[in-house]
């Protein structure tokens, strides 16, 4: 899945030796994890995960089923404790101490079926320290704001699955948290509501709220995230800005020439893919040479190749994922994403 964005010549950089953890700069970290390990029954579900999530960022956790995403998020939330490693969430090593500033949407959604929608929101808020009366007022207001005001007094069991999911989403935001963690937030949502959720996540980040979400769908991460962590087999082979992930693989050159042969052919890498056309012209696809684009251009012009078009396409996040996590993980990710409801 090549990324359509075209880059100016010389802007790209190889990042083969780039640090796995992005430079934090002067930004405060909402989450810092070092060497998190979690074992279940002798099986290592998470094996030395390092994460640094700056405050106010939209951060994606990418990986197929069983990669360790949910376990990592649960450790960050304090639902389970790591067997080894350190975690610091909003400055605290005990996540429950800052629970009032965290919102969480678990992958397996659930609310008490007999509760009314606005009460369910207030209840979750109360668990996070928001007074019940205030939670009820905010619950009604949130439902109204998101077009669900008519359902405020309905019991959860009377709502459709999608509506109940939206209620739970609002419930995890009612106390205005500084950090929200969504585990597979897009699963089970139709395209319309997925778009709505993306807008909501951007709005949260604009307000300074840190948003972390796990997903199988790379497109969501690519559209939303400043940074991502790629998890495969319980390890994090990459964590950092999306651009840095893309830069882990070379951009692809897409060249169209009037002629398909000549002295200039020597400048084109031997492993380039060629598509001949009936009129004698040809398309060439190859990774950008390490020497850069200028020597190639010079050879093409001097050899009179007849350049019809030339573009350098930056790698997409999907390609980066394949390069970083491996083909098997990428295939598993695609299979997960194709599952119904995912």
């Amino acid at each position: 899945m090549p990324h359509p964005m075209k880059m100016e010549l010389g802007q790209w950089q190889t990042a083969g030796n780039a640090p796995l953890i992005a430079e934090r700069g002067d930004r405060t970290l909402a989450i810092e994890a070092k060497g998190l390990v979690k074992r279940f029954d002798g099986f290592t579900a998470v094996d030395g995960v390092d994460l640094e999530v700056p405050e106010g960022a939209i951060y994606g956790v990418l990986g197929p089923n069983g990669a360790g995403k949910t376990t990592t998020l649960r450790m960050l939330l304090g639902i389970i404790d790591p067997d080894a490693g350190l975690r610091r969430v909003l400055g605290s090593e005990r996540p429950h101490e800052v629970a009032h500033a965290i919102g969480y949407l678990p992958e397996e959604r659930g609310l008490y079926p007999s509760m009314k929608a606005y009460e369910a929101i207030a209840f979750v808020g109360a668990l996070r320290g928001l007074p019940l009366t205030e939670g009820r007022i905010r619950g009604r207001a949130l439902l109204e704001e998101h077009g669900l005001g008519y359902a405020a007094d309905r019991q959860i069991r009377q709502l459709s699955k999608g509506m109940a999911q939206q209620v739970q989403l609002l419930a995890c935001l009612v106390h205005e948290p500084r950090l929200v963690i969504f585990d597979e937030p897009f699963s089970g949502l139709d395209a319309l509501n997925q778009g709505k959720l993306e807008r909501m996540m951007r709005a949260l980040a604009e307000r300074g709220t840190t948003v972390i979400f796990s997903t199988h769908v790379i497109a969501h991460a690519e559209r939303l995230c400043d940074s991502v962590a790629i998890i495969a087999g319980g390890k994090v082979p990459f964590a950092g800005p999306v651009d840095l992930a893309r830069d882990r693989i070379r951009p692809q050159v897409r060249l169209e020439t009037r002629r398909d042969d000549g002295l200039w052919r020597g400048a084109i890498p031997a492993d380039a893919r060629r598509e001949r056309k009936a009129d004698g012209s040809a398309f060439w696809y190859f990774p950008l040479p390490e020497s850069g684009i200028e020597p190639l251009l010079r050879a093409l012009i001097e050899g009179d190749a007849g350049i019809l078009s030339l573009s350098i396409e930056r790698a997409g996040l999907h390609d980066a994922f394949v390069a970083i996590a491996g083909e098997a993980a990428a295939r598993a990710l695609e299979e997960n994403a194709e599952e119904p409801g995912r």
Binding site: F40, D41, F43, A45, G63, P64, N65, G66, A67, G68, K69, T70, T71, R74, L77, G78, I79, I80, D81, H96, A99, I102, Y104, P106, E107, E108, R109, G110, L111, Y112, P113, S114, F123, V124, A126, L127, R128, G129, L132, Q168, A171, D183, E184, S214, I231
Partner: protein
Amino acid sequence: MLQASLIIARRDFSAILFSRSFFFFLLGPLFPLIIGVVAGSVSNKVESAAARPVLGLAMTASDAKAMIAAGKALEGGLGNAAPEMTIIRSVSPGEKIDAAQVLKEQRGNIAAMLTGSPRAPLLTGTEGQIAQWRGPVSLIAAQALGNGPQTFPEVALASTATSTASERTGRMRTAQAGQTLLFLLTMMLAGMVLSNLVEEKANKIIEVLAAAVPMDAVFFGKLFAMLAVSFVGIAVWGSVFGGAAMLSGQSLSMFVTPAVGWPLFIALGVTYFAMAYLLLGSVFLTIGSMASTVREVQTLSMPVTMSQLVVFFFASFAAAQQGSMLAFAAEAFPLSSPFAMLARAAQDGAVMPHLLALGWQAVWVALFVRYGAKLFRSRVMKSGPASVKPKRSLFARLARDSGSPAATHAG
């Protein structure tokens, strides 16, 4: 943590109170009541065996020995009518003793005192008891004198208002009534506590709770809610039984006043009920939390009920042997401690042991909840690929570290 517990308790309390199942919960005591009556009759038999009245002897050593030997000799002929005798005090010839005072001071199961000599025996005790033993004592005294059956010494009688034995037997009944009531109340809660976390797991809200508050707070919240519900039940049933008792002219006077007095006994009863519930509840909540379905909970109900019965019978049996190692064991073992201590309150007026016991029980409640919450977090709130977690039965999961179907199989 307390605030979080109260939020969960409040939710659970109102959810249960305004549900249809609460009606059935209120009907619940009818069923264990029947079991209680049966259990009570078993306990009565235990009590009659354990609390057999004894005749205390305060005579010269030779007279006492002669009486005991004669009693043994006549045992076959007299059967159960022959009193069991024990030497309370050896007296010098001519020494006068206050038999009524000696009887009052006895801590054992001494129902009457025999003083004087085999030639002129004096039987001191409650009217009913000395009337019952007058004939056998005369026979035994004749045997002790070697007079044969034709010449029976006259047994002088001195009646007292009460004896250690009659008071002890009465208090024993009070203790057993208290224990039985405590057992019934805790028993009717067990099923509800077992299934308490199944709702959260079925609704998948457990993760929302676990992420927001420590699991200990979830456990405490649920226990407090059920305790509050049970107090509502007690208030309802207490009013019903109290009203019925008043209408039929019955009152607490049908029981002997417990050693600590009625007000403190009732207060201790309520406190020990709360402790018994919290102790058993925390264990059952943990066991139930490992279950994923109502069917698994139903499977658990029988062994749980049986284990409750074992605890009850242990405490009940120990109650008849106050001061023994067995009684101490029942008082020290956390799960039987509230039952055993309530029985103690009926039979022993000392207050300090109750304060110590309540502290001891509170420590165990905290430990059970802490361990239960830890177990729940480590066993249930796990994630990972389904393929690495073979599905095992509930019992296997409880017995050892293993996967739970309730755990989400996500990345």
